[in-house]
Structure formats: structure tokens, C-alpha cells
Amino acid sequence: MKLEKLLLQNRTIILKRWLDSILESYSSDTKRFLKKQSDQFANPVGQTISKEIGNLFQELLEGVDPARLSPILDRIVRIRAVQDFSPSQAIFFVFQLKGVIRKELNKEIRENRLSDELAEFESRIDDMALIAFDVYMRCREKIYEISANQAKNQVSRLLQRAGLISEVPEWEPHQKETT
């Protein structure tokens, strides 16, 4: 596959542009921080995204293996699932790769008549997006589950067994007010 070779040759620039476009989803100050701070513990979000998109790219070149893509996607999506994003915003980063490739390799693709190969590669990206959806849903469900169990978890098994909780009773003035 010629396109594959082309993608490999341009790996660095594609990943750089892909990262840039993903970071566009953050405010300008945040973007600057996510991009600049290279310590993975001081900047887990920026570093995770930049590392894992490299892994995703590598996987895509080899095909679409959900078992391998899913854990990589998980590391990015799990973060975006708890940030201020709607579901579509949270996984839009997958689709952004398409635009990056078209823009960066436009000329080469036309000159070498690679549009069929491109269409095939883009359908891999679509498949990856579907996997990302599933991952996103799993993360959100987990949050709801933790949230729902939270009150229960914070009270000891023993206490529930014994029924020993007593709350502050309704206070007189308030009862008057509301009745």
C-alpha cells in the first residue's frame, strides 16, 4: 500500500497536527499548558493524549483490531469523559485525523492517485470512532455507577446491617414554613 508508506514517512507531522487540532477543544490557556509541560506527572492529560495518539496511529496502519485499539482509546476517552465535553465533543478527536491527513498529504494523494486507498484508510478511522463510542459509554456508565453507590459505599456494611443511622429531624420553624 502506497498510502501506508506515505503516512509512515509523514508520521511526525501528522501526529503533531492531529495533537494540535485535538487541543483546540480546550481554552487557549489550557491548550498552552497541555502542549508545553512535558512532565507526564505534572501534565497527565497533555502527555497521555500525545503519547496515545501515536499508538492509535500505529495500530491503524496495521488495520483495525478492536482488542488492541480499545485499551489505547480508553486512556484518552476516560479523561475526556470527565471533562466539560458533550459525547460528540469527547470523541471528535478520532475524526479529526481524517482532516489532518487530507490536508497534509493532499498533493501527494492526488498526484499518486491514492484516493481509493485513502477511502479505505478513512473507513478504518470510522471503525475506530465506533469503538471510541463504546469506550465512552463504558466510562460514563462507570461514573453513574460510582455516583449511585457512593452514599452506600461511604457507610459501613455493619452500620447498614444494624440500621443505626439517625438524621437531623425536620426543624420546627421550617415545618411551619412549608406546611
Partner: protein, 557 residues
């Protein structure tokens, strides 16, 4: 932290403002998953907090009193006079941005208003408008703006997205402590009835029954009796903790989470075992079913409320006539004791300077407050070779240690917990340097934010911590996150479930309970969680089968 920056520090500071202009113009959107529920009227009424009413942060109308603006501005003026530090913090920030990327909520969530410098600007912009000439004349050009309902809402949203962890203050060349700005911000909000349920309910409960959950004295004792039974089953030794005993030398107070919430309950079992062990050596200690809360959610409400709740502990110490107070594993409890208690309710002259009855060590650091953190007490015991320990009983655990913000940054308890852990377990691994000790990352749920409805916020805020835990999990196989704080023990299980489900949470005194060799104990086959010890899996299984057979036999009869 010194208040005045050193010249070389100043030289390093880049004085160009990193801030997006226009943050003032973009209105805040209150989101589910981030915002907490509003305080319930019954709980506000119970402790006499202003403007009790049903309201929701998601509604347009927050049902403020008509003169809310006057109340807030008067409140701010009064506090500027009362707290010199507040006035200084308002004036001296040069917006260098050194603190900007140090807050876990910003790092994990990316919302620029969670940069500490912007969090402080929320209040500072009003301060400038009202109290500085430039602000009065030039308004927005001088970073000033009018106090409106939208500003108030923004305050509420973001002051309840700060865990008052103080990480940012470590990086500020001027020593500005944004946590203190949050504290004042929350205090002002409370003046017009803006608070959150997860704080005001524990406050009311604590005021009424002495603890956050509203557990009554008999129930408190029942819980400890349960633990005594469990301990006897595991070790074969029967213990008899004493309650409300007048004339005891020491009063023990721990956060109610240790008594009522897992996995804190196992830490509590560790305390009981330690005290039993030391009894023969001369420890004379009592629990109290009235001072049944070491935590102080009043501190997340106002100075006044913190003082009221803090006074309860000392009143109980006085009533029982003890000499000093030993405190359980807790975080913010120690910030209150260490930094505020003396001014609130001190000096506690009716108590004596704490001395360990076992080692004779004087806890001079607790001279004023007469209250000692149990991790110091236990570290001292180990240092003097007073405990017989079998660390191999913790061999199932590969442990890392989370420095809780308050004991670490607030009181410098950095070595003691590590020393104890290394003596009770064989596998200890540190997280990366820039995530521990003074630089520790918050659990994401401190200062009253460990509710259920703000889970998204907690998961973001806890991300930097979880990320470091994940690192040691992947590198060394760490499976246990140890801490000396009850809020941590409540917050981390949720956080780990989302980010690294393979890692559990443990209090340091639970590990002590496991390792402590008690006189007359049977051969232990399980840990305090009733899980088989390392190498005991088969023995335990056989025991279980035997037990089941017995039950079956009894059924047949």
C-alpha cells in the same frame, strides 16, 4: 513558606500575564456532575445559618435575600479588616502564573477558572472595584468588575471546586494561599445562604450528635463492639475498649468515618488493637461517644462554625478530666487543630503537655493544642522498640503512600507515616517525586467535595493523583494506596474504581493491626478484612469449608 519572595525567585517570575482576557465576559454555566446539591433548610436552621430555603443551583432563581449585595460587601469589608492576610493576598498578586498549572482541578479538567490565580481573581475583581481607586475608575481595564448575581453564582461554582489543598501556595513566590481565599469566599457565600448539602448536613449532624453521620452514642458503642467481635474472631484475643471514662489519662478522638465507613473501619480495628496492646504497658485511654467526630466540616463553612464544632472536643476532654487528646488518622482535622485551635478555643490550659506514657516522649509540638496525631504517637513507639511486629502479615500488599494535603503541607507529617509503613510492611514504593510530600496531589474530594453528585468533578480533580498511582501500579505492581486521612479513605475507593480498579485503599493503622503480635493470639490466617494472609490461602479455604459444614450440620439437626 515565607511571605516575601527571594530576589532570585522574583527574577525567575515571568511578569507577563498568562491570563486569557475576556474570562470575565464569558458567563458561567453551572453543570450537573460538577455542582453539588444545595444545603437543605432544616440543616441550616439547626445551626442558625442564614437564609434557609429550598433551592437548586440548576435553577435560575437562587432565592437570595433582597439585600444580598449589601450583606456580601459588608462581609467582605469586615473580613478585610479582620484578616490581614486576606488584604495582602488581594493586593500583592502580580499574576505571574506560577500557580496557574498547579491545581489538580485545572490539570485534570482543563477549565481555566480552576487556575488558582483565576479562582482568586473571582474575589479580587470585586475587591478592586470596591476598594481600589484604579478599580473604581477604570473598571475592567484594571481587572475590576461589579458584583452581580452572575458573579455570585460564579463564586459559588468555583469556590466549591477548590479542595483548599494549598498545593498552589507552594509555588507562589509571594506565598499567596488561594485556599484561604476560598475559605473566605465560602464564608461570604454562607452569609446569603449559598452552600452545599454535603457540608451543611454533616455540620448540623455534628452539632447535634457529635458526628457527621448523626450516629447516636449507643450506636457508636455498638459499632466498636462489632469490631471487638471481629478482632476476636481473627486473632482469638478479646479486647475491651473503654468509653466516656472519667479520669482516664488520654481521650481518643477520630473521624467518624473510621467508625462508620469502610475501609476506615479496618483502620479503627487497628486503633483498638494498638490500645489493647499498650494497655499492659501503662496506656490509660478512653473513647468518647460524644466527641465522636475528629473531622470538622464547620471549617468548610466559616471560621465561626469551625470554632463551634472544635469546641466540642475540648469540652469533652474537660468533662472527662483527661490530660491530653490523641487524635486518629485525619487530614483537615489537623489543619484546624494545628493552625486554628489555639486562636479559636485555646489555650487549653486545663490539659497538660502531651507525654507518651509508654516512651516518655514529650510532644512539644502539641504544647499549645494538647492534641497529638496518632501517626506521631505510633512512630515514636516503633522508634523506641515498643511494638512487636510481623510485617510479613502484610505481604499480600504492595503499598504506596499518599501524603494527605493537610498533614503534609499543613503540618509537615512527612517522615512519620513512611517510617511506620516501612516497619509494618515489606513492599513499599514511592510515587514520583513531584506528586508526593509537599507537592502531593489532592485526592480531589477534600474540603467537603466528596459528595456523590459531583462525581465528574472528583474524577477530574483526582486524575493527577490517580495518574501517579497508576504509574507505580504498572511499574511495581502496587495494589494498595495507603493514607492517614479519613476523607482519603472515603474518596479514593471511588477514584480508584474509575482510574485503576486494581488498587485498594488502606489506613496505616490497619497495617499496624495486621502486623502487631498480640499476647496470647492464635495463629492468624487472615488479615483484618478477613482475607487470607499470604501463604495461608489453603488453610483459610479449609477453615471456610469446615465452617460451612458446621452450618450444614446444624441445619440438619
Amino acid at each position: 513558606m515565607s511571605d516575601v519572595p527571594k530576589p532570585e525567585e522574583l527574577a525567575k517570575v515571568d511578569h507577563t500575564s498568562p491570563l486569557i482576557t475576556g474570562w470575565m465576559n464569558s458567563p458561567v454555566e453551572i453543570k450537573k456532575g460538577v455542582a453539588c446539591y444545595a444545603g437543605k433548610p432544616k440543616n441550616l436552621e439547626y445551626v442558625g445559618l442564614p437564609n434557609p430555603r429550598e433551592w437548586s443551583p440548576l435553577d435560575e432563581d437562587w432565592k437570595l435575600p433582597d439585600n444580598w449585595k449589601e450583606i456580601i460587601l459588608d462581609g467582605l469589608r469586615e473580613r478585610l479588616e479582620r484578616f490581614r492576610s486576606l488584604k495582602i493576598f488581594m493586593d500583592i498578586c502580580v499574576r505571574c502564573g506560577a500557580c496557574a498549572d498547579k491545581c489538580h482541578f485545572f490539570i485534570g479538567g482543563g477549565d481555566p477558572r480552576n487556575m488558582p490565580v483565576l479562582r482568586a481573581e473571582l474575589l479580587r475583581s470585586i475587591y478592586r472595584r470596591e476598594y481600589t481607586t484604579a478599580g473604581k475608575i477604570m473598571g475592567k481595564f484594571a481587572g475590576a468588575r461589579d458584583l452581580t448575581v452572575d458573579v455570585l453564582k460564579e463564586w459559588w461554582y468555583y469556590f466549591f471546586q477548590c479542595t483548599e489543598c494549598r498545593r498552589c501556595s507552594v509555588f507562589c513566590p509571594y506565598g499567596i494561599d488561594t485556599a484561604e481565599i476560598t475559605i473566605i469566599g465560602r464564608e461570604l457565600l454562607n452569609l446569603v445562604g449559598l452552600n452545599i448539602d454535603w457540608i451543611s448536613a454533616p455540620v448540623a449532624n455534628c452539632y447535634r450528635t457529635g458526628n457527621h453521620l448523626g450516629i447516636q452514642p449507643h450506636a457508636y458503642k455498638d459499632m466498636l463492639d462489632f469490631f471487638v467481635d471481629d478482632i476476636e474472631e481473627i486473632t482469638g484475643v478479646k479486647m475491651e475498649p473503654s468509653f466516656n471514662r472519667k479520669g482516664a489519662e488520654i481521650l481518643f478522638i477520630t473521624p467518624s468515618g473510621d467508625v462508620f465507613a469502610d475501609p476506615g473501619t479496618y483502620t479503627c480495628m487497628g486503633y483498638i488493637m494498638l490500645f489493647h496492646y499498650l494497655q499492659k504497658m501503662g496506656l490509660d485511654i478512653t473513647w468518647s461517644t460524644y466527641a465522636s467526630e475528629g473531622g470538622n466540616f464547620g471549617y468548610f463553612t466559616s471560621h465561626e462554625m469551625a470554632k463551634r464544632l472544635n469546641a466540642k472536643m475540648y469540652a469533652e476532654a474537660k468533662r472527662l478530666g483527661v490530660k491530653w487528646i490523641l487524635g486518629g488518622e485525619c487530614g483537615h482535622m489537623w489543619r484546624v487543630i494545628n493552625q486554628y485551635m489555639d486562636t479559636f478555643n485555646g489555650p487549653a490550659d486545663f490539659l497538660e503537655e502531651p507525654v507518651s506514657p509508654i516512651t516518655g516522649t514529650k510532644f512539644e509540638n502539641a504544647k499549645g493544642t494538647k492534641m497529638v496525631h496518632i501517626i506521631e504517637f505510633t512512630a515514636d513507639l516503633i522508634k523506641h522498640n515498643k511494638l512487636k511486629l510481623d510485617p510479613s502479615r502484610n505481604d499480600n500488599l504492595k503499598v504506596t503512600f499518599h501524603d494527605s494535603c493537610n498533614p503534609a503541607r499543613g503540618m509537615g507529617l512527612l517522615e512519620e507515616p513512611r517510617y511506620v509503613i516501612k516497619n509494618v510492611c515489606n513492599n513499599f514504593y514511592e510515587m514520583p517525586e513531584n506528586t508526593i510530600r509537599e507537592l502531593t496531589f489532592c485526592c480531589g474530594g477534600g474540603a467537603g467535595l466528596n459528595a456523590g453528585e459531583d462525581m465528574e468533578l472528583r474524577m477530574r480533580g483526582g486524575l493527577p493523583r490517580a495518574n501517579a498511582v497508576k504509574h507505580v501500579h504498572e511499574k511495581y505492581g502496587v495494589n494498595m494506596l495507603a493514607c492517614i486521612c479519613a476523607i482519603d479513605r472515603a474518596v479514593f475507593p471511588d477514584l480508584m474504581q474509575y482510574w485503576i480498579p486494581e488498587v485498594g485503599v488502606i489506613g496505616v493503622h490497619e497495617m499496624i493491626g495486621n502486623a502487631l503480635i498480640l499476647e496470647g493470639e492464635k495463629e492468624r490466617t487472615t488479615d483484618l478484612r478477613s482475607e487470607p494472609l499470604h501463604g495461608m490461602e489453603e488453610v483459610e479455604e479449609a477453615e471456610e469449608v469446615k465452617k460451612e459444614e458446621k452450618v450444614e450440620e446444624n441445619k440438619d439437626v
